[in-house]
Symmetry: C2
Subunit: 214 residues, 2 copies
Amino acid sequence: MSNLKKDKRPLEIPKPTFERLKKYLALLLQEESEYISSEGIAEKLNITPEQVRKDFTYINIKGKPKVGYHIPPLINELSELFGIGVMDNIIIVGAGNLGSALAKYAGFKKIGVRVVAIFDNDPVKIGKFVGELSVLPFSEENLKRVIKRFKVKIGVICVTEESAQEVANILVRNGIKALWNFAPVTLKVPPGIVLENQDITTGVLTIKHLLEKK
Amino acid sequence: MSNLKKDKRPLEIPKPTFERLKKYLALLLQEESEYISSEGIAEKLNITPEQVRKDFTYINIKGKPKVGYHIPPLINELSELFGIGVMDNIIIVGAGNLGSALAKYAGFKKIGVRVVAIFDNDPVKIGKFVGELSVLPFSEENLKRVIKRFKVKIGVICVTEESAQEVANILVRNGIKALWNFAPVTLKVPPGIVLENQDITTGVLTIKHLLEKK
DNA sequence: TAGATTGTTAATCGATTAACAATC
DNA sequence: TAGATTGTTAATCGATTAACAATC
């Protein structure tokens, strides 16, 4: 366990800090140099170096004055925080363009994620290959088998908004513990199930708002 | 202009409020009833009704005690805030699965966004149709022409991380004012250019972190 | 050593929550 | 009218910023 202060009280990472830590990790994974200063990080993310240093007090790393932070251990520490060391098998439901894009996404490996199956109920898509995976029919038997065999905890929803809730129900019923939802719907899930909505349109709303102000 | 208080001082919408307003809008667009209470909204988004009411003080709407908020005017007000009334033409660079998914995404209309062109430099993809659009060769001439003709201000980057920065440079050079970046890279853009990074992996990091704590 | 950069504490700022009055 | 729900002000809580001491 890493987030202990000297006095041994574990401390909760504030939400905003947590979000920034994700950005630091993404940035560091791209970095090629060996060391980086708080200033270096701050600059690329449009925040202050003080912010960066403060955020780092929540994880167990030390920088060197005059040098900055050694990147590899920093990546390790952040990786541990996000549970990247443990490889999680995930399944994707919906083999449309979005589902296919995710199934083929190369960056998952770096963050401890492996796509083990992709499902669809469109006969045209079933059996076709998406990257190295053949599209499986979305039946409860198939689902059950895959989830059991690969100990899958995370299900990705890439279906239409009309089917999203039903798919969510089926996944949860078959033992999925977390849903990563790309459909533009507000899903209802039982307590204890982790739900992460990845609303793809929100970004463009921010852009429109910013452009309007000019 | 809508965000004035009684005393006519315009007031900045706090960032967290702004983010929630986006969620309210997404939710309301799915809603079928005519009225909704702060409690009704709060429940679906796992926040408190007080939060919702407080947030609404930043926009120009009034609810009715005992009834709640009338959804249509609420949607209008939020739409105005995000500049949804004005239709923005956007172009997509990269006709892979992700670019294609976006090009075909039906929900854009609702938020005042229209995809007018999709580019790629892969000869295999050029000329093929993605929805109703034929993939255009990614040349500066084509780009210039489309941007001028459709008054395009927003460019979407759906290319590999290797080409993303170069594509960004070319878009900006040809008059694009805002970039919506789906490539997992930290782009550098000149001041004045709006940059919105849509890092698709961040969601799963949150999931992994939450699952780990159990 | 001098200087740069980290790490930490204190002060400020801003957002959330609580309480309650207004109102349909 | 009574009751429910909004709207707003004040109190609390939490995050950011500033200042500076520690250290390589």
